[in-house]
């Protein structure tokens, strides 16, 4: 019986730490690594040119690495459910392997493929390697619910078993007798397409600031660790103007596409820390970047509506404004606020922005200034941001818009002040908005305040060469803090009621209505309380939230979460 195996690359675009691939090679006679170019990329066709280019570079890199092992990558266009039955037949497949995908859309797709596989008598091998842990185990430890606060998540992590070691890299020895049948017309049928072939206009496209691929990823990892060792300091670096620029040691897009194994990164970081700090135990904060990613994957895995406000049990229902014109200005970097516009320009050009820059533009779009839904911002990031995948992107947007995770909402980033404090000289603005190059540092963050003479001298008149600010920030933030306060007040209001009656078991969408009526009628508390008293108005105290009771969240792991189960329908 000939063992013909297919390894299906989705994320996990690497040969190091690829346990499912390694497993499927064992005992197989033939191996074919496929990548299915699903026009519906990860559940949405909203993918910009930078992301496509990165992906294609990853695939090219994989193909190159596979060639060294006398193998090739097979890129096939179509939908997996159409493609696989055909391949199983044509290639007489006995085994299919792939890396576990924790996202709801991924799980659904994989369930369908598993069914097709079992119908065709194909064995399926799946291994976890996109996340540090098996997420279901974390959820189990939390009583069957995804943790909703990062603190809670950290507490759970500290009780989990150690992270599994990365699998060894696929080498010729690992491959052994396993071969790949390569036809003469392989390049015609299965080559990695170019951007042009996919229909993109590439004239004038600048070289990629973030080149895709496993090779690049591993090089960067070494550089990243070298720099850390040299600095001998594992504290989070202070933010300065330079931090805003793309770094040759930046790793986030590579983690997202799986060119770099998060577990490899984890172990290398741990080793380095132990070496430099002489064997002491690394704190959790060392892995901050990896743990945030893990946290969002964990919160999203069982929630198919994680990327929506409506019908999402973890998302506060906020009356965002629908304003396509304003959204377009933000997305295209035409807000009239240089700090915001420069960030959005860097994002569009390069595909990456610093996390504080993300906070700034996310705050501006949602709860800070424009009061537009985080879902819109998420879609724009999905298109442009190299390291944004479904779980992490949606989760971060909910966080930054204070729609979930019990995030305090009082703090608003000023689109002028925050930029000015981060980059007092304004070099970042000048780099990405050359039209404002000649403005002095004093006015470059708020050029509309510059006297006419200064504007003329800078050859940039506000309103003509560069837009006027699209909102009055003070006015907008005043209004918006009112809005948020109101919403959270109404959520906090019901702490007393919850005890006396069963919590209505549905989403916060309806519950506000119920509370309104029931509050007044059943408890004789006049509606004035809902529009009145502002005591303790600056902070959200986290009680009485329909979906989750916070008090049980923070402290003991494996604590009782019966309340959550009852309320989350």
């Amino acid at each position: 019986m000939v063992g013909n195996t297919i390894h299906w690359f989705r994320k996990g675009l690497r040969l190091h730490d690829n346990p499912s691939l390694k497993e499927s090679i064992r005992g197989a006679d033939t191996l074919r690594c496929v990548y299915i170019l699903d026009p519906w990329f990860a559940g949405s066709s909203n993918v910009g040119i930078s992301r496509w280019r990165f992906l294609l570079q990853c695939l090219e890199d994989l193909d190159t690495s596979l060639r060294k092992l006398n193998s090739r990558l097979f890129v096939i266009r179509g939908q997996p459910t159409d493609v696989f039955p055909r391949l199983f037949q044509e290639w007489q497949t006995s085994q299919l392997s792939y890396e576990y995908d924790s996202e709801p859309f991924g799980k659904e797709r994989d369930a369908a493929i598993q069914k097709l596989a079992s119908e065709a008598g194909v064995e399926v091998t799946v291994k976890v390697s996109h996340t540090l842990y098996d997420l279901d185990k974390i959820i189990e430890l939390n009583g069957g619910q995804s943790p909703l606060t990062y603190k809670r998540f950290q507490a759970l992590i500290s009780h989990m078993d150690a992270v599994e070691s990365p699998a060894e890299i696929i080498t010729a020895e690992v491959m052994r007798k396993c071969a790949t049948p390569i036809s003469d017309d392989h390049d015609d049928k299965f080559a990695v397409p170019s951007l042009e072939e996919l229909g993109f206009e590439t004239e004038g496209l600048a070289t990629a600031v973030w080149p895709g691929g496993e090779t690049e990823a591993l090089t960067r990892l070494e550089r990243h660790l070298e720099r850390k060792a040299w600095v001998a300091n594992f504290e989070r670096p202070r933010m300065n103007a330079n931090s805003l620029l793309a770094s040759p040691t930046g790793l986030s897009p590579y983690l997202r596409f799986g060119c770099l194994s998060c577990r490899l990164f984890y172990f290398k970081l741990t080793d380095l820390y132990r070496k430099v700090k002489k064997n002491s135990s690394p704190p959790l904060s060392l892995y901050g970047q990896l743990l945030w990613r893990e946290f969002f994957y964990t919160t999203a895995t069982n929630n198919p509506r994680f990327d929506k406000m409506e019908g999402n049990p973890v998302c506060v229902q906020i009356p965002w404004d629908r304003n396509p014109e304003a959204l377009a200005k933000w997305a295209e970097g035409r807000t009239g606020f240089p700090w915001i516009d420069a960030i959005m320009t860097q994002l569009r050009q390069e595909g990456w922005i610093h996390h504080l820059a993300r906070h700034a533009v996310a705050c501006f779009l949602t709860r800070g200034d424009l009061w537009i839904s985080w879902e819109e911002g998420m879609k724009v990031f999905e298109e442009l941001l190299l390291d944004a995948d479904w779980s992490v992107n949606a989760g971060s947007w909910m966080w930054l818009s204070c729609s979930s995770f019990f995030q305090q909402f009082f703090h608003c980033y000023c689109p002028v002040g925050f930029g000015r404090r981060t980059d007092p000289n304004g070099d970042y603005i000048r780099r990405y908005l050359p039209i404002l190059k000649a403005f002095p540092a004093k006015y470059i963050f708020d050029p509309w305040n510059a006297p006419e003479s200064v504007q003329k001298a800078a050859k940039c008149v506000i309103g003509m060469h560069y837009p006027k600010p699209m909102v009055h920030h003070t006015e907008a933030s005043r209004l918006n803090i009112q809005r948020m306060t109101q919403i959270y007040q109404q959520l906090s209001c019901y702490r007393g009621l919850g005890e006396h009656r069963a919590q209505p078991a549905e989403t916060t969408a309806n519950s506000l209505k119920i509370r309104l009526e029931s509050l007044e009628e059943s408890k004789q508390i006049p509606i004035t309380n809902l529009i009145g008293n502002n005591i303790m108005c600056f902070f959200y105290s986290g009680r009485g939230h329909a979906a989750v009771k916070r008090s049980s969240e923070d402290l003991t792991p494996g604590g009782s979460n019966k309340a959550q189960r009852q309320t989350s329908n």
Binding site: P283, Q408, F410, C412, K513, E521, P526, I527, T528, I535
Partner: protein
């Protein structure tokens, strides 16, 4: 069960008759000896109160008895009109048919009403339209809430005023009124006062640009039961504070003031210390909530003398100097939020606040910097009275004594509960 329901709804007799019929048809249906149609109205009322409006509406279609219960006045005392357009909002609006029904059958039952309006002018228009029809209402509470951009401000002023005055004139027993961000003006306030001066307890009118200090003074002079007031700083005057402290006036409970700068370099008037003192003498327990949205150099007139602020919010960047003055002049401070300060540590200022603001129980710091040692000192001095400590992680600067991993244990120790700074995702 379905047959029973069909029987009830299609029957033209009263519930009892039709149910007797059904019992003949389905003798084993009411095995518990309990007949749903005979449920007393009071119990139905109680149950209906727990149902969301939509479910209640479905229930009302079951049979005549339940339909009657649905329309009981007690269920219509309180209503929130949600007016949204699909083009400007993601949320659903109250169904126009329902609105018609309410106006037709229940307008005289309404007592607590609020309008939630999105950013479109149509929604604000719709709200005014409903308001103008509330002629038979005796409202106790009225709230006009814009959930996004203040669309009431885009209406022609006269149109809005005439709709609002319908309620002012006809209700005569308004107790709570929330009209922030609306084009209400002095004459309409006069109408409000003329008809509701005995009952008015709460008035929230922040950012109503057409009102003058004289207009609000009129309210304070006549409405002696006013307990809660929210307005903008430009309406605040010494006379207003004195009027609120007059003998005839009840104790004020809550005064909220928004200090908002329209343009950089705006000038703000001062309030005499004696006026604040009079307020405090008259209402020793009152809460003074102040939101500041000023540019750094506009704080000149503020915090030069003692002021009885209890809740203080700085929405824009505020200087070390001003925070230092807050420590000296705000002995009643309970809550403090600093959205941003800058890159120089606030160590001294925080410690002074811990020392002098002995009532402080909640603090929030955004883009600021505080050294870890000073922060621990601050928490130690405040101790367990700090029920809310919201510090962004970036605020804390590690020093020779503490790093970020150690600080949360130190702070937790002094607070008597587990504490972590507020975090933001970094990936």
């Amino acid at each position: 069960m379905k047959k029973y329901e069909d029987a009830c709804s299609s029957s033209s007799e009263g519930p009892t008759e039709s149910c007797k019929k059904v019992r003949k048809l389905q003798p084993n249906l009411c095995e518990f000896g309990f007949d749903w149609a005979l449920l007393p109205q009071e119990i139905l009322l109680n149950i209906f109160q727990f149902l969301p409006l939509l479910d209640r509406a479905y229930a009302s279609q079951v049979c005549r008895g339940w339909n009657q219960a649905f329309h009981m006045p007690e269920l219509w005392r309180c209503f929130e009109f949600e007016l949204n357009q699909p083009a400007s909002s993601y949320l659903k609006a109250t169904h126009p048919e329902l609105i018609k029904q309410i106006i037709k059958r229940h307008s005289n039952h309404l007592q607590y009403v609020s309008f939630k309006v999105d950013s479109s002018t149509e929604s604000a228009e719709a709200a005014c339209d409903i308001l103008s029809q509330l002629v038979n209402c005796s409202l106790k509470t009225l709230g006009l809430i814009s959930t996004a951009r203040p669309s009431f401000m885009e209406l022609p002023k006269s149109h809005f005023i005439s709709a609002l005055t319908v309620v002012f004139v006809n209700s005569k027993s308004l107790s709570s009124l929330k009209i922030d961000d609306t084009p209400v003006d002095d004459p309409s306030l006069k109408v409000l006062v003329a008809n509701n001066s005995d009952t008015l307890r709460m008035l929230k009118m922040s950012s109503c640009p057409h009102v003058s200090p004289a207009g609000i003074l009129c309210v304070a002079d006549q409405c002696h039961g006013l307990r809660e007031l929210a307005l903008n700083y430009h309406l605040l005057s010494d006379e207003l504070l004195l009027a609120l402290s007059s003998e005839k006036h009840v104790h004020l409970e809550h005064l909220r003031i928004d200090v908002v700068s329209e343009n950089p370099g705006q000038h703000f008037h001062t309030i005499r210390k004696s006026s604040w003192d009079a307020m405090l003498r008259h209402s020793p327990k009152f809460n003074l909530v102040m939101y500041f949205f000023l540019y750094e150099d506009e704080f000149g007139p503020f915090f030069r003398e003692e002021v009885p602020i209890t809740h203080l919010y700085f929405g824009r960047s505020v200087s070390k100097d001003v925070l230092g003055r807050v420590g000296v002049h705000c002995p009643r401070l309970v809550e403090l939020v600093v959205c941003a300060n800058g890159l120089r540590p606030l160590d001294e200022e925080l410690i002074r606040i811990a020392k002098r603001c002995t009532q402080l129980s909640a603090i929030g710091l955004g883009e600021c910097e505080v050294s870890c040692s000073a922060f621990v000192e601050f928490v130690k001095m405040c101790g367990r009275r700090l029920s809310q400590l919201s510090i962004m992680e970036e605020v804390l600067i590690p020093d020779h004594k503490y790093n970020l991993d150690e600080i949360h244990w130190e702070v937790s120790k002094h607070l008597g509960r587990v504490w972590f700074p507020d975090m933001m995702p970094t990936w």
